[in-house]
């Protein structure tokens, strides 16, 4: 069991090291482009490189090899008011100036970076865009992977006598499941915690796997999925729904008719308003926390790698020294990011469990007593 976990840790460390080689290559290509494109300005646009990496893109770019981009074309799915559904590959729009039908990628303005078309009056409008972008593809692949992993573990328990010992992947999942159930769900929710364990386990494994996939630089990983606000929004929204749809009577009474002097709630519902805002800020904090942590992690790794290229023109000695510093710090941050991947998944799950627990306070109990857990 231990040996297997060690293997997995080793695998991640290795992939992190690989990430450096890969990111370096990618950056080198980006920077090379920057230099050829803007001969007169030797400034390297680190910000744009990082932003484009942590953002989304229509194709899955690997690197630039001898002036040729190597990338996986991804399907673009659009619904335009004028031409209806349009499905084509992103390779059609690879060059910044190319067009497919009337669609092209806007270079500036409100819709910069998105596929747009021109309406009859000549204004740029964005069609309804549900393209399988880099993040979406990574998301779908990771979801399939997660389903495969968990279902295979479930199959193990279905097929085998549950009294037999488990090892390997099953053992690993089992440890995490036991941890979430015993250390997160049980103490935070209290009785009837079993109702919520499937939900908590799903969000934990979903966030964890997406975080970890984001740390793997090569193809199925590397996308900044959990560092995307749309993804964390849906996760937080799910928690919001679970919390508020399973709340107890006391929970709703506390929101709409809390124990405060009547003038605070009677003609003008000041306290109820605050309470309602409170129910929204809780999942909102979850959303921002996960998004910010993962995005920051990706940015730091990219920024450290950029140091190598930014210092390239400062001479061999400086560049060499800075390269060493960047690599050492990069390894440190990479390892930290593995920890963060676990911690963020854990915090999201723990706080969801705590919010569920708070919403299920039985009559007569003050929620302050439970709130201290937070």
């Amino acid at each position: 069991m231990l040996k297997r976990t060690n293997n997995i840790i080793l695998l991640f460390t290795l992939s992190l090291l690989l990430s450096f080689i890969n990111v370096s290559a990618q950056d080198a290509s980006t920077l090379a482009v920057a230099e050829t494109n803007t001969e007169e300005t030797t400034d390297i646009n680190v910000k744009e490189m990082i932003m484009s990496h942590i953002g989304d893109s229509y194709e899955w770019h690997f690197m630039k090899w001898k002036d040729k981009d190597i990338s996986i074309p991804l399907p673009i799915i659009l619904h335009s008011k004028e031409s209806g559904w349009n499905i084509f590959l992103s390779s059609e729009l690879h060059n910044p100036n190319s067009k497919y039908n009337q669609f092209y990628i806007a270079q500036e303005g409100k819709h910069a970076g998105k596929i747009v078309e021109k309406d009859s009056s000549g204004a740029e409008i964005a069609p309804f865009d549900i393209s399988l972008t880099k993040n979406a593809t990574s998301l779908v692949l990771t979801s399939i992977l997660l389903i495969v992993i968990v279902m295979s573990v479930a199959q193990f328990y279905k097929r085998r006598d549950s009294m037999s010992t488990s090892k390997g992947l099953v053992g690993l999942i089992e440890i995490v499941v036991t941890f979430i159930v015993d250390e997160v769900a049980k103490p935070s929710i209290g009785k009837e915690y079993q109702r919520f364990t499937p939900f908590l386990l799903t969000i934990f494994f979903f966030i964890l796997l997406n975080n970890l996939m984001g740390l793997i630089p090569i193809f199925p990983g590397g996308a900044n999925v959990t560092g995307n606000i749309a993804v964390t929004l849906v996760l937080a929204l799910t928690t919001f729904l679970v919390v508020n749809l399973t709340g107890s009577k006391a929970y709703y009474k506390d929101i709409f008719w809390p124990d405060v002097p009547t003038w605070l709630k009677a003609p003008a519902p000041i306290m109820p308003l605050i309470e309602i805002i409170g129910t929204i800020t809780k999942p909102f904090a979850l959303m921002i926390r996960l998004f910010a942590n993962i995005t920051a992690g990706h940015s730091i790794v990219l920024g450290l790698t950029s140091v190598i290229f930014v210092t390239a023109k400062l001479g061999a000695a400086t560049n060499g020294a800075m390269t060493m510093v960047a690599i050492l710090f990069g390894i440190f941050i990479g390892l930290l990011e593995i920890l963060v991947a676990f911690i963020q998944a854990y915090i999201f799950t723990l706080l969801s469990a705590v919010f569920i627990g708070l919403a299920r306070t039985p009559e007569g109990e003050t929620k302050e007593s439970v709130q201290t857990i937070e």
Binding site: E48, M51, S52, I54, G55, D56, S57, Y58, I77, H111, A112, G113, K114, F128, D129, I130, S131, L132, T133, N135, A136, L139, V140, S143, L146, I147, V150, M151, V153, A154, Y157, K158, S162, M163, I173, E174, V177, T178, V181, Q194, T197, P198, F199, L201, T202, I203, F205, F206, N228, I229, A230, V231, L233, V234, L235, T238, T295
Partner: protein, 166 residues
Amino acid sequence: MSSSLLTPDTGLLFWMLISFGAVLFILSKFGFPIITKALDKRKKYIDESILAAEMAYKKLEEVKTDSEKIIASAKDEHAHIIKTATQRRDIILEKAKEEAAKEAKHIVEVARKQINQEKEAALSDMRREIALLSVDIAEKVLRKNLKEKDEQMDMISRLVDEINLS
């Protein structure tokens, strides 16, 4: 796509809703309940096994103390039996000795009596024998003395005298 990082993108939102919805549905319906149930079952099984083992251990201890008790009582019994046996043996021995002494005494007495009787018999036999012998002797003496006629007459007269006298 360098639009603001904080603006959720509709396309990704759509795919996230679909994929996370699918994951949540499948895993919370067919995945995790099986795992948690199996883990619960195993936990229960382990708890029960530990309890059963504890009970068995307790029972074993009980049996041990019981057997020790039985052994102790058997030892006691054993000692008691030996003690009573020795006592009885001593009594029997004593009795036997006593009886033997009595018997011996009796035998000696009977023997003495018999000896006495036999002695008496022998003595009376001897006496009779001696009387017969003396009569014989007297006869013989008489016969010798009364060979002559006058002597016989003397004798008769003497005897008559004697009878008369008496």
